[in-house]
């Protein structure tokens, strides 16, 4: 893998973001709004609920982690969509750039863009609403696991758009919303019917949110569950990369790369 080629993919994204307010603002504005909105909701719930549960870490912490996962996924897909929107596939794939270098560039771009959102969320959540659970060392495995799963979703989504054409990006945007109910972001897994729980077991974020609730309730995190979730997330990254490579090879075989446009959706 040539670092200069990976750097080129990252630099392209940096140039685009630097020169465009419409790309800079989404990095932190929506997550900031989420923090403020959910921050006040949790404050209100703390005031009216007689249970004594502190909703700030339970709900606001969950929103923060979930938003981080979504930002990681979108960090990959947005960087990929830039090539879709500028019809750059022929230029980019007729170079020595390998698929691993290309995907590496997308992932590094996502690390940079999602970090901006994460920092803004942590600053707002701690300074305005006193969120403190993230002083726990468990934040690192939580973030790592969600990061890996977000990368897997992003690469998989990019492969879908590569396969079905630019219009299929509308399949990708709602993916986090489709996963959220199964990931048990805001409620315990036990709330779900059995068939949904089976699906939850296959989703790494569900292990994060179960453990978050366990810590907030004064319990301990299950390291083995997190490890299993991490292994699942790593497996999904590998599978997503494989899916992208196979989709790319198919696109080269069928000629889709050479004539990729909105009209090629099949």
């Amino acid at each position: 893998m040539h670092s200069s080629r990976v750097a080129a993919v990252v630099l392209r994204q940096f140039y685009l973001i630097r020169g465009s307010l419409s790309r800079v603002l989404p990095l932190f504005v929506w997550v900031a709004i989420d923090m403020v909105l959910w921050g006040f909701i949790t404050k209100y719930l703390n005031a009216v609920a007689a249970s004594g549960i502190n909703f700030v870490p339970m709900l606001l912490g969950a929103v923060l982690l979930w938003d981080f996962l979504v930002r990681v996924m979108q960090g990959v897909t947005m960087a990929f969509f830039e090539d879709v929107w500028s019809r750059n596939f022929l230029n980019i794939f007729a170079t020595p750039l390998t698929i691993s270098e290309y995907l590496g560039g997308l992932v590094i771009s996502s690390i940079a863009t999602s970090s901006v959102g994460l920092i803004v969320m942590i600053v707002l959540a701690t300074s305005l609403f006193g969120l403190s659970v993230f002083s726990s060392l468990m934040l690192i495995p939580f973030l790592l696991l969600l990061f890996l799963f977000g990368i897997a979703l992003g690469i998989c989504g990019s492969a879908v758009v590569l396969r079905f054409g630019p219009a299929s990006e509308w399949f990708i945007w709602p993916v986090p919303a489709l996963i959220a109910p199964f990931a048990a972001v805001f409620y315990p897994l036990s709330t779900l019917p059995q068939w949904m729980r089976y699906i939850s077991l296959l989703l790494p974020p569900s292990y994060v949110f179960e453990n978050l609730r366990a810590i907030v309730s004064g319990g301990a995190a299950s390291e083995s569950a997190l490890l299993w979730g991490g292994c699942l997330a790593a497996l999904y990254v590998l599978l997503a990369c494989r899916f992208f490579v196979l989709t790319y090879r198919r696109a080269v075989r069928t000629g889709l790369i050479a004539r990729y446009s909105a009209e090629t959706v099949s």
């Binding site: 080629r5 080129a8 630099l11 830039e82 500028s86 022929l90 170079t95 020595p96 390998t98 069928t254």
Partner: protein
């Protein structure tokens, strides 16, 4: 009109191997060797077993009516389209087996592949320069901006350039890595006659001064005759004619290359291929 196959095409790969043909020796001096490549989409055959070579300092014109298979051939040579069968060797490196290595000293420009319009001229060249691993990239970009009169547009978004300026930018990108194989798909299609002449001169100078070969498609027969050392007439995915563009028309009873082109296209239609 007599139509003959070129010699390389007459010798299928299997026959060459049976004859003990040494591919490496055969390809010595060739920057591009295309061997029996076919591309079929279901029952439709876009390219039908063509073979040709491009030598150092040689500019080869790939001519043919619309749908003849020119762009398909270029796409297969660029590695963005996989041949159904056959092989492409760039500097002796098998494109299918070692794509990245084969494309290191290859580049292309095409009117249908403009550089991203949301990046500036400099940013586009820097990004592609990094991808191609160009040494002294800043100096190389400055030289190319100067060479293609793009210096004044250095900080301008590529999307707001005129079509002629975008063509010049595409050519600057195509020469970033000092390619040994340069593929040009109608490189002067959107240029005025004066700019076309200037660009032709630059490309010719590029091919003759270094050790590069150029594959050039164009519908401008005057241009082809002026620039190309050899032309390949492609029709319905096959090479029908091959030769020197200055002598080929008379060899086939036509006055000009354009008349020969029309005759080839008509023959294709009359034979029911179109």
């Amino acid at each position: 009109m007599s139509i003959y196959l070129n010699t390389a095409q007459a010798l299928p790969l299997a026959v060459q191997r049976e004859m003990g043909y040494d591919m490496r020796r055969y390809m010595a001096g060739s920057v591009l060797s295309v061997r029996n490549i076919c591309k079929a989409y279901g029952d439709t055959v876009a390219v039908d077993g063509i073979s040709f070579d491009i030598a150092e300092n040689e500019i080869v014109g790939l001519l043919g009516p619309n749908g003849a298979g020119k762009t398909t051939t270029i796409n297969m040579t660029l590695g963005v389209l996989e041949p159904t069968s056959g092989s492409v060797y760039i500097e002796g490196v098998d494109l299918r087996a070692q794509r990245s290595r084969a494309l290191r000293r290859t580049n292309f420009a095409a009117v249908y592949a403009p550089l991203p319009g949301n990046l500036t001229v400099y940013q586009n060249l820097r990004i592609f320069g990094l991808i191609y691993g160009v040494k002294d990239l800043a100096g190389r970009i400055d030289m190319l901006l100067d060479h293609f009169d793009l210096g004044v547009f250095r900080g301008v978004k590529s999307g707001v350039l005129s079509s002629g300026e975008q063509t010049r930018l595409g050519l600057a990108k195509a020469m970033l890595n000092r390619p040994r194989l340069l593929l040009l798909d109608e490189p002067t299609a959107s240029l005025d006659p004066a700019s076309s002449r200037e660009i032709r001169g630059k490309i010719r100078e590029f091919a003759k001064r270094g050790d590069s070969g150029v594959l050039w498609t164009s519908h401008n027969m005057y241009e082809v005759e002026e620039v190309c050392d050899r032309v390949l007439f492609l029709s319905h995915g096959k090479i029908l004619l091959e030769g020197d563009p200055k002598t080929l028309p008379r060899e086939h009873g036509e006055e000009t290359l354009e008349e020969l082109f029309i005759a080839v296209a008509r023959e294709r239609l009359m034979s029911g291929e179109g």
